[in-house]
């Protein structure tokens, strides 16, 4: 049974591509307002897990409850209503290529808010300013760098003040200053709005700075081998592979 505070519950989740499972027996609970980092070697299924947790893909077995809703069993209306309460940053940002950054952030607001145009514009400009893109609002995604795209993607994910945000490698490929700024933003989102954040990351310093809990996916056993606060991963007596991953990644 999920408690009222558990915004995300993964219950014996099995994920994969097509009918082939790449990870199974993934179980954990995440309380509202917490930050969870999903870590593991490349290709182990971190993004696939995020997609299953957020209801974008159906799990092969088990269930994930998001805000008390089992998305794989919910009807279309409930499913869409629940999805509107979450934000998602994709690995490549997935900005709408024919819209400017401002229009990208405005788009969900235009669809779901009944606010006047001027107000929506103001909201979009504020969200873009939060991620440091106040000067690039009228640019198209093709005219900006990868890091700026990521930040614009975060601004769009924040558009409707979601209760939970999924961030797929938010700071991958970014310089340390921008990466640090994104960490700061993640912490501020949690502090100011109580937003729950689930992120996939390889950046151990960033995980140590931001995350409350960490899930380690082990491709050799095909399941999660650790679920603990990130500091625990640094203990020498911790699950060996998870510990090795953290210490190796810290060194690099």
């Amino acid at each position: 049974m999920s408690t009222k505070e558990d915004i995300l519950v993964s219950d014996n989740l099995s994920i994969g591509h097509g009918s082939k499972a790449i990870m199974d027996r993934i179980s954990f609970r995440l309380a509202a307002g917490k930050i969870l980092a999903v870590v593991g070697p490349s290709g182990c299924g971190k993004s696939t897990l995020m997609r299953a947790l957020s209801g974008l893909d159906e799990p092969l077995a088990g269930k994930s409850m998001l805000m008390g809703v089992d998305l794989s069993r919910a009807d279309q209306a409930l499913r869409e209503a629940t999805l509107r309460r979450l934000g998602f940053l994709f690995q490549g940002a997935a900005l709408f290529s024919s819209l400017t950054l401002r229009e990208n952030v405005e788009m969900p607001m235009r669809e779901f808010l009944r606010a006047p145009k001027r107000e929506i514009r103001q909201l979009a400009e504020y969200k873009l300013a939060l991620v440091g893109l106040a000067d690039a609002m009228e640019k198209l995604p093709s005219e900006i760098s990868g890091g700026m795209m990521k930040r614009a993607g975060i601004a769009r994910a924040m558009a409707l003040d979601p209760e939970i945000i999924f961030l797929d490698e938010p700071s991958a490929g970014l310089d340390p200053v921008t990466s640090g700024r994104i960490d700061e933003l993640i912490l501020k989102l949690r502090e100011s709005f109580g937003t729950t954040i689930v992120l996939v990351s390889h950046e151990v310093p960033s995980i140590l700075r931001t995350a409350d809990f960490c899930v380690y996916l082990d491709p050799d056993t095909g399941t999660m081998s650790a679920y603990a606060p990130p500091r625990d991963f640094l203990r020498p007596d911790f699950t060996p592979k998870a510990h090795a991953f953290f210490t190796q990644a810290s060194l690099t």
Binding site: L56, E80, G87, F90, A94, S97, E111, D220
Partner: protein, 343 residues
């Protein structure tokens, strides 16, 4: 035991070797210069051997092989499919492709119903642009092909009718064929060539860049948001284009007929006598169906496109093929039905 020697280069042919057993020792004797061909050859041929002793090889070579072993991921070994397996896989793929198509049709129909009741989120701001690209922008090509179709039919008809002394009926032939059949069919095929492929590329590219996933993550249904305005635009524009093609086709026929045996008055009189409201309606109904098919084929193939550049190309090609095939099948069904109901 395997003994290596000589110079190993990417530009030389590598030796074939079959290694069996659990334990192999590899040593070097007069080993000269080598590039990546040697470690890759060792890695490829010995990776499945349980115990391999590379201890007597130069340390640089050992390190290169061990590095590849460390970096390799645990993947299930690829199996070479036999004919039966391939046939089975083809069967499974085809059935899942059919089920995906029916699923898409069902979701499109549901999307239409939901949008009628105002419960669907449809990107109506896309509609004017789609109306223009699917309709107005297609006028020149529809005019050209419609004119040539009428012209060709008139030529063929005149040759035959002249032998019977009934050249005046060439006007009936061209106008009836254009109104009932060719206007809608030609326009439908043009729509498959330019609109279906365009939709498949647009939606396929959006798949590649995860834009459709982003829509879903925002609680928007991509079929409703992207496909419905496109399907509505094409279904509205194709009947208009078909009427235009019919008009131009009749003009094309007139050019040929009047250059030969008929006067303009004779031709137009016969056209007015030949075209009935019923034949106009037949062409009109067909063009609505063809427009829907062309637009749906593009949206469907685009939405199931693989997430790669190749996938987008394949989606565009298969959208045109699927659209044209379905249009011809629908035309045949219409022919039977209209004949049955004496339409």
């Amino acid at each position: 035991m395997v003994t290596l020697g000589g110079v190993w280069s990417l530009h030389e042919e590598l030796p074939d070797i079959i290694v069996k057993g659990d334990k192999v020792q590899v040593r070097a004797e007069d080993l000269g210069d080598f590039d990546s061909s040697l470690p890759s050859w060792l890695y490829g041929n010995f990776k499945n051997i349980r115990q391999i002793d590379l201890g007597s090889l130069p340390p640089r070579l050992q390190a290169l092989v061990q590095l590849a072993e460390k970096a390799s991921v645990n993947e299930s070994p690829s199996t070479e499919n036999n004919v039966l397996e391939r046939f089975g896989n083809w069967g499974v793929d085809s059935s899942s492709s059919w089920s995906r198509a029916f699923d898409h049709i069902g979701n499109t129909a549901l999307g239409f119903i939901r949008s009628v009741f105002g419960r669907a989120k449809v990107n109506w701001s896309d509609l004017p642009l789609q109306l223009q690209t699917a309709g107005v922008d297609a006028l020149p090509i529809v005019a050209l092909l419609g004119f040539l179709t009428g012209l060709i039919m008139a030529y063929v008809g005149l040759i035959q009718l002249r032998q019977l002394g009934a050249t005046v009926y060439v006007a009936n032939l061209v106008s009836l064929a254009m109104t009932r059949e060719m206007g809608a069919l030609m326009t439908g095929i043009i729509a498959c060539g330019r609109t279906s492929t365009s939709f498949a590329s647009q939606l396929g590219s959006m798949n590649v860049s995860q834009e459709t996933d982003a829509l879903r993550a925002l609680g928007l249904n991509p079929i409703e948001y992207l496909a419905i305005p496109r399907i509505i635009a094409v279904t509205l524009m194709i009947p208009l284009l078909a009427m235009f093609a019919t008009f131009i086709g009749v003009l094309g026929g007139m050019v040929v007929a009047c250059a030969g045996d008929l006067s303009v008055e004779q031709y137009l009189t016969q056209v007015i006598l030949a075209i009935t409201f019923k034949s106009f309606l037949v062409g009109f109904i067909k063009s609505i169906a063809f427009g829907f098919i062309a637009a749906w084929a593009g949206c469907y193939r685009g939405s199931v496109a693989h997430r790669s550049a190749l996938g987008v190309g394949e989606a565009a090609t298969s959208a045109a093929v699927l659209g044209i095939t379905l249009i011809v099948i629908a035309d045949a069904i219409f022919a039977v039905l209209f004949n049955l109901f004496k339409f």
